[in-house]
Structures are given as C-alpha cells and as structure tokens.
C-alpha cells in the first residue's frame, strides 16, 4: 500500500497569496494512500527540506509530492532531499501550483480548487512510480574536431593543451580554411597568414593531435562519451609516410593550368599540388580529374600517358594505385567547425529558393569579382604577388566599386539574414586598396554600415576619414561591361539621384552560406540545422556552443556568419565544454529513457523511424538453443533523450518511457477527470 507524503509550499506570498495552501494540504490529506500532508512557507529552504526528510524517516513514506513551483526550478533540490533520506529520488515529484496556478489566476477560491486538482494528479502518478537508477556511462576522453579552419584549429589546440586527445578531420589537402586565404585582417590589419600559420604548425606538431587532412567523416554511431566515427581517408596518391614535401613532383607535373581553388580561380596550379606553400601537412595530392596519368587511364589507354611526378620523386612516394581507406576512431565528444562558403552569385544556384544576381555580371564580366578573390589579389602570396591588378588585362584598377549585401538581407534572393562580416571586410578592402593604389578611388554601395564590435566602428570610420572611401547609400541595379570599363548603375537614396560609375573593377560582398553538404553531415551527427543549413545551437543565449545532440558541439561560421574573433571565442568555448565533459570518469544521465518490452515487441520498428536521436537499435531474441526467434527494437539508453515519441507511436504498447509510462499518464488523467 502506498504511503505518500504531500508538501504544499506557500513560496512566501507567491503561492500563498492566491492559493489557500492549508486547505490544499487538508484536502489532499484525505486522499487514499496519502499518510502525511502539510503546508509550509518555503519548502525549498533548509527547514522545509528537513520537514520532508523527517517525514520520510518517521512515516516510512513510499512517495513524495511537493506542491510548489515548476520542476525546472527545484525538482533536483527535492529529489536530492528525498535521496538524502533514503528514498529513491525518482519517487519524488512536483506539482506545479505556482507557474501553472497562483501566478496566472486571481480568484483565490478557484485557484485553490485548481491547486488541489494539480496535487491530486501528481499523487496518483507517484503512487505508480517505481525506483529508477541514474544511468552511468564511461567517457572516452578523446575528441573529434570536424573542419580545420581557424575555429577547428583553435578548438583542437585548446582541447589538446587541456590534456585531451584530438582527432582533427579536414576535407581539403591542408588545414587553414578561409583565414589562410585572407590578406590582412580587420580590425587591426595584421597579416592573416602570419598569425595563422604558426597555429597550423602547432596543430601538426602537437603530440595529442592526430591530424587527418584530406579526410571526411563518413558515419557516426553511438552517443555522448562513446561515439564511434568512421573516417574516409581520400586517396592522395602520395604515400604520406615517404613524402618529405620537397616539391619536385609539382615542378615535374605537365598539367600546369588547373584553376587554383586556393586562389579562387584567379591563379593556376599543377595537377599534383599542395594548395599553398605553407600548407599543413605539406604533402601533395594528385587531383585525379586533371592528372594526365588518370585521364589516360580513364580513356582506356594501355600505355601510361604520364608519370613525370613518379620519375621526379626521389623517395618513391607517388602511389597511383592508392585507394580511399576507412579508419574508425572512438571519441567521447565532437566539435563541428565546417565553416562557410560564399553565396554563388550567378544563375546556377545550389538550392531552390535562392536566386542569383545575373544582373551583376559575375562569371561573365571578368573584372567583377567576389570578396575572397579580392583577398587573393591583395595577398602577398596571391596570384599577382600582392599587386592589385584586375583579372581581365592585368591593369591597375583606378576605380573600384564595392557592393555590400549581395545576397544578404534580401529575402527576394532567398537569404534574409545579415552576413555580419561584410561591412567590416569591405571597409578593409577599401583601405588595402588605397594603401596599394594611392590615387585609386574606392566607392562603396551600402544599405547600412553595421560595425558593432570592439574597435569596429572606428575601423570603418577610418576607411572613410583617413583612406577616403566614398560611401553611397543605395543599391546597384546593374553591372555590365562597356568597352574597357565596368559600368555600374545604381541609386543614391540619400540624394535621391541615380548614380552611374565607370569602374575598372567591381567587388561583390556576397552572403556567407553554410558549406555545401552540411545537411548530410548534420544528419550523420543527428544535429539540427536551420532552413539555411546553419547548425542550430541548443539554446541561442544560454547554450550557444552545444547542439541538440548531447556530446556534439559547434564552433565558427558553420553556426552563423562569424568573423575570426567570434569563431575563435566559440571554439574555445566548445573546447571548454568538452574538457568539462571529460573531467568526469562516468557520465550520469537521467534514467527517464524509453525501454522496450522484448516479449511484446513485434519488431515493426515504427519507433526507429520516428526517433529523432537514432536511439533505437535492433536486438535479436533467441531461444535457449540459440535459434533466432525474432528481431525486436531496443533503445540505447545513452542516446535516448526521453522525448517519448516512440511510446506514442508503438502500436503494441511495448515501449515505455521510464517515469512517464502510459499507466502513470492515464492515472493522472483519471485523477483529473473522475
């Protein structure tokens, strides 16, 4: 027979003002099974908790109901108190008569009646509660970082310096991300490579970091503390253990005109290449699509079309036969840092709903370029060795027009968000331009200048006041080639006049978008993403670097448009979160997870299809002789988040959410209705 104790809290005046707590305690005390029912000013205070403990001990309670505030507020407090008195903590529940009652009602009589109802409901539930044990799972103290841009690099270094083992997976041949392409960085104009490359080398040399460049995450299984990750090592066609990065193969390569991805197609590279001289690791990759050897093979030629790199390599490192390899790694936490790419400006758009800017001539007018291309033109390591020369004829542009918000803040083009960094980098570009071409004219078309950040507004002011950038508020309707110049037709909305500029070059500050394929990766990791493809944080204010999947964290521009300081801050925050996780030997999880009754389960796997966390697994049921009887669903308690969707779906009622079983819920409903 149940022996339930009920504790009604006044919460000072918070509940007491509208609810007659003494009457609640009195009425509830009359219910069958309730052996103790009292009210008290502050149940969460030490004397309040002492009341509960004392009653458990003296009256031998089998369940406790605290009628007070929301369980979000104090469920832990009271469960701990119950536990302290020797009762299983999960036999203690709360009835919320504050947020759900006193705070929202005025009529004292009616509110008191409602409070009685609410308490009675929970009493009926607690009568059916069973003791549950906290789930403990071991933690694998290694972390996986996906993406080797500045965010991934920072996260990996912080984690490794904090004592954790790190696997850093980068899909390109080198780490560095977009920051390695930048010339100088706002707001201080320090050289991007100068501050980045030492960190890249640090990653390479760190004893606790395993750098896996030219690799991709193929599959992820498991749950927080215990992920099993399958990583695909793409075939480099170069034996990493033999190569010493001498570069002889690249000199020997006969294919020299592949547009360089690193130089944003403004420069050329060979078919066997490292993306840039400071690449980490400094090991080349054969681009099989362009390599003469592989093209010959593909055409079915019997004799090898080429092999110059192999001949040139003194260490025999070239390996045409190499194939993709798969490696599995066990990790306890994952940091996603896959960064961004720029909005594709032309007609071909990667997603429905996105519309390009055909009217700006990008892709058809050679002197219309995007921001990253400008960075490469301004970079000392770029295709023009840092001289600002326009792509069409190599002349020094005397007039450059910069267009802000190309794609961003334009719902008609499919993107309504602000890309946040463009105002800053356009100001930077005007400065870099004027520092290189002193008599150059820089005109910026803008909607607003958004320069919130330490030293940021000052920076954009400097562009105008010291470096003479001309800012025109308004949009541009068309950009086209007119003989030697690029015509820009726009409108100055402050003067109310049309503007026509004969520019030598036009730079488009295009929106930042998440990387292609991010959706697939997010699905592999079971993390949610917004309609643009940016990874969702668990809470926009309070949990900015966690995702909705426990143990998976997010950093940098894959979560939203971010500049370098933001990306680095997020990365350090994510690393701190992971290190916090790794400071436990065992992880404790609430036992309110789903459990399958294998005897009842018919193996229809509806639950598997609806589970948002991928927690449902298949389990074989065998008889004593080992014959397979059936395959049933089984919930992995480490992955289950206790949402209850499976329970609602199961046609045979064979899956139950512990602590929220059908029996308990029906008892609550009955207590209210009968």
């Amino acid at each position: 027979m149940a022996r339930i104790g009920v504790f009604v809290c006044h919460c000072g005046e918070n509940i007491g003002r509208t609810v007659d707590c003494a009457r609640v305690a009195g009425e509830i005390g009359k219910l069958p099974g309730v052996v103790h029912s009292v009210d008290y000013k502050y149940m969460c205070s030490d004397p309040g908790q002492a009341l509960i403990k004392q009653a458990i001990a003296e009256k031998g309670l089998t369940g406790v109901v605290v009628s007070a505030c929301s369980p979000h507020m104090h469920e832990r407090t009271f469960r701990r108190a119950a536990g302290g008195a020797g009762l299983n903590p999960f036999l203690c529940e709360m009835a919320n008569i504050r947020e759900h009652c006193s705070w929202i009602h005025e009529d004292r009589e009616a509110a008191t009646d409602k409070a009685i109802d609410l308490a009675r409901v929970i009493v009926e539930k607690v009568k059916r509660n069973v003791p549950l044990e906290t789930i403990r799972i071991p933690v694998e103290k290694r972390a996986l970082v996906i993406g080797g841009g500045i965010a991934g690099i920072q996260a990996a270094l912080d984690l490794a310096d904090g004592g954790a083992e790190v696997v850093l997976v980068e899909k390109e041949p080198s780490i560095g991300g977009h920051m390695s392409q930048l010339s100088e960085t706002f707001p201080t104009l320090d050289c991007s490579q100068c501050i980045l490359t030492p960190r890249m080398v640090e990653v390479y040399q760190h004893p606790r970091i395993r750098l896996m460049a030219y690799c991709e995450v193929d599959a992820v299984e498991g749950y927080i503390g215990n992920f099993k990750v399958t990583i695909r090592q793409k075939a480099r066609s170069v034996d990493e253990t033999k190569c010493n990065g001498c570069g002889a193969c690249q000199k020997a390569c006969v294919v020299k005109n592949v547009p360089s991805e690193f130089d944003e197609r403004l420069g050329k590279r060979t078919a066997i290449y490292v993306p840039f001289p400071q690449a980490v690791p400094n090991i080349p990759v054969i681009d099989r699509e362009h390599c003469a050897y592989f093209k010959g093979r593909a055409r079915g030629m019997k004799k090898d079309a080429c092999g110059k790199c192999k001949e040139a390599c003194a260490r025999g490192a070239i390996d045409f036969a190499q194939e993709d390899r798969f490696v599995t790694e066990k990790v306890g936490a994952i940091v996603v840092a896959t960064g961004y790419e720029l909005y594709s400006i032309g007609k071909d758009q990667p997603a429905a709903g996105l519309k390009g800017y055909g009217e700006y001539g990008y892709g058809t007018v050679p002197d219309v370029i995007d921001g990253l291309q400008f960075e490469r033109l301004a970079s000392a390591s770029g295709p023009t060795a840092g001289k600002l020369l326009r792509p069409s004829d190599g002349k020094v542009p005397k007039k450059i027009v910069f267009l802000q918000c190309v794609g961003s803040r334009d719902p008609a083009k499919g993107i309504d968000y602000c890309s946040k960094v463009c105002c800053m980098y356009v100001a930077k570009h005007t400065m870099l331009y004027r520092h290189k071409v002193h008599d150059g004219e820089a005109t910026v078309f803008y909607m607003d200048v958004r320069a919130a950040g330490k030293g940021y507004d000052e920076f954009t002011r400097r562009a105008v006041e010291e470096d003479g950038a001309v800012y025109v508020r308004g949009r541009v309707s068309r950009v086209y080639r007119d003989g030697d110049v690029v015509k820009v037709l726009g409108f100055d909305t402050l003067n109310g006049t049309p503007v026509e500029i004969d520019a030598d070059m036009v730079v488009l500050a295009t929106a930042m978008r998440p990387r292609k394929g991010i959706e697939k990766l997010a699905q592999t990791l079971s993390v949610s993403y917004d309609r643009h493809g940016f990874i969702n944080e668990a809470h926009p204010k309070l949990r900015p670097v966690e995702t909705n999947t426990a143990g998976v964290f997010v950093a940098g521009a894959c979560q939203a448009p971010r500049d370098i300081p933001d990306s680095v801050a997020m990365a350090s925050a994510a690393a701190a979160k992971v290190l916090g996780l790794f400071s436990n030997e065992m992880l404790e999880r609430e036992p309110t997870v789903a459990r399958v009754d294998a005897a009842l389960c018919a193996g229809c796997f509806h639950c598997e299809r609806v589970c948002p966390y991928g927690a449902v697994e298949h389990k074989e049921v065998r008889d004593r002789k080992g014959n397979l009887l059936k395959v049933v669903a089984d919930v992995n308690p480490g992955v289950c988040q206790g949402c209850g969707t499976c329970q609602a779906t199961c046609p045979s009622k064979s899956v139950e959410l512990m602590g929220f079983t059908d029996e308990q819920i029906y008892a609550e409903v009955n207590a209210l209705a009968l």
Binding site: K347, D348, Q349, A352, L354, K355, G356, Y357, G358, E359, T364, A412, S477, R478, Y480
Partner: protein, 318 residues
C-alpha cells in the same frame, strides 16, 4: 488545352495585332483560347492609382468570372492586365480581411483558384511544340527581347522568371530559330502610360532602349506588352534621328507566328507603324525547317541564350 482568355481593352483596340497573332498561333501550339464572357476593365493605370479596393476588386471580378466559367488559368496577353490580375490575386492571398471585403464587393465567393498567365509564360510552356512546328525557322534574325517593367516585377507577384535577369523571352525567341542578342536595357522603363501626359520623358526613355538594341546588333525588338509596343513602335518616327534605320517592334506572338509559317496579314503585321515588310520578306526567304519532326534544339550563342534557368525549373505547369 483550354485556357481562359482575357484580351483586355488594348487587344480590342491599339493592340489588335497581338490579339490576331495570338489567336493565329494558338491552334498549332495546342491552345484553345476561350474568351471570358462579360469581362471588364482590369483596373490598370487609373484604378490602382486612385483606389486600392478598386484595383483589387476589378481584376478579382474577372478572375471570378473565369472561375465560374470553368477555367483554372487565365491568359492575359497585355502585361498591364497580367500584372493587375496577378497583383490582385497576391493581395487577396496575403490579406484575409481584404479577401472578405472583396467577396462582399463582388457579391460572389472568390476562392481565387484561377492562375493568371502572361504571354511569355504560355508560349514558353510550349517550346517543344513550337520547335517541332517551326516550319520557317527565323535563322539569322537577331532579336532584342524587351521585357519592360510589368512582366517580371514585382517578383513576389510575377514569380515565373528571375525579376532582374529573366530568360524566358530569350528561350521562346531561340525556339523560333532567331537569335536573341545580349543587351542591357531589357528591363528598363519605356515611359509606359506617360505617353500622352509627359511625352518628353517617354521619348528620352524609349530612345535609350532603341539605341541600346540597335548597338547590340538587333534586327528587331520583341515585346510582350501593348504599352511598350505603342511607345516603341508608334512613337518611333519621333525617336529615330536623321539617317538612322527604323527597328521593327514585334509582339512575341508575331515572331512565333512567322516561325510557324503563318502569313503576315493573319498575324496583323500590316498594322505596325514601323514597316515590317523587309523583315517578313527575310523570314519568308528562309529555308523551310525541320517541320513535323522534332529537330535538335537550335543552338544559340552562350551569352544570350541561357536555356536551363532555375526560374524555369520552378514554375508550375502552364
């Protein structure tokens, strides 16, 4: 396919050749045009400048009639009519209170099931038939496709093509065997309804359009709007400078008709102010094309013809 037909006032007046040519090309393109019974003014120009309610109620009445008469699409060849019909439908879809008012005003339910279609949209949906039946491909003819302002904008109302960089007219022109030229003023304003009130502005704007088309090497301009046609064709005498050749301005349906082998008179080509004779003769002189069998797609210069556009992929079946 049976389509509701809403000629509007222009097609019964200044733009009769648009009406004639469209009725002529409809059968070979598998279209049955059924004129909506008892149609009234669409509210262009004056209504929407004076009363918001009227500007929605007038087109709504016509859409409601089409609905009653069993249509699910309503072809409005005049760009202004099309724009009014589409704008009204959009306004009603976005504003439940307005939708109620409109039903009151109309005195009949208005579930708004009829989709307004424009000339370009309807022709573009029949490119395969057009290519197949173009017995007289307009090979070598260079055409500047002029969209004007009402056909593709505002984008949330006229979502059938990219509002800033449309391709649909070029696609139709390419299917006639002619070659669309790349030019810049495809979307500029011709002066529209200011033709009478501020002729000076119209002359300035339309001249810029003509100049640009000419310098892009066009032999003719293709339009899909009676207002544009009147400004560019009727006023052209006043626009051209001494010694400059005139540039024929053809409705898209007339070009299509020529390619389909229809004769100039049926297509109303004699009604133009700028002589179209030379152009028609050129068309007649062209070699008969691969009639009746679906020939390969005529190839067009990369700059002008952009066959597969995202906008094209996104449109509903017309």
């Amino acid at each position: 396919m049976r389509v509701g037909y809403y000629p509007g006032c222009s097609l019964h007046g200044t733009a009769r050749e648009l009406d004639e040519s469209l009725r002529a090309v409809a059968p070979p393109l598998g279209l049955e045009l059924v004129e909506v019974n008892d149609w009234s003014c669409c509210g262009a120009t004056s209504a929407h400048a004076t009363s918001h309610l009227l500007s929605v109620a007038l087109p709504a009445r016509n859409l409601a009639l089409a609905e009653e008469q069993g249509h699910d699409q309503l072809l409005a060849p005049c760009a202004a009519c099309y724009n009014r019909l589409a704008s009204a439908r959009h306004a009603v879809a976005c504003d439940a209170a307005l939708a109620e008012t409109i039903e009151d005003v109309l005195g009949r339910p208005f579930p708004s099931t009829v989709a307004p279609r424009n000339l370009v949209e309807v022709l573009r949906a029949r490119l395969d038939l057009l290519r197949e039946r173009a017995v007289r491909p307009l090979t070598g003819l260079k055409v500047a496709c002029y969209y004007g302002c009402l056909l593709v904008r505002p984008s949330e109302v006229c979502s059938f093509d990219d509002p800033e960089d449309p391709v649909s007219m070029e696609e139709v022109v390419t299917a006639t065997g002619a070659t669309p030229v790349a030019w810049r003023r495809r979307l500029d304003c011709c002066g529209g309804a200011f033709s009478v009130a501020r002729t000076g502005s119209v002359v300035r704007l339309s001249r810029a359009i003509l100049d640009d088309a000419r310098s892009a090497g066009a032999d003719a301009i293709a339009v899909a709007c009676p207002m544009c046609h009147s400004n560019l064709d009727f006023r052209q005498k006043a626009l051209v400078r001494r010694g400059e050749a005139e540039l024929p301005v053809l409705y898209l349906s007339e070009l299509v008709g020529l390619a389909l082998g229809l004769d100039a008179e049926t297509l109303g080509l004699g009604r133009h102010f700028v002589d179209t004779k030379a152009l028609v003769e050129r068309a007649l002189a062209s070699k008969p094309g691969p009639a009746a069998k679906p020939g390969p797609r005529p190839s067009a210069p990369a700059a002008a013809a952009k066959p597969a556009s995202p906008a094209a992929a996104g449109t509903e079946a017309v």
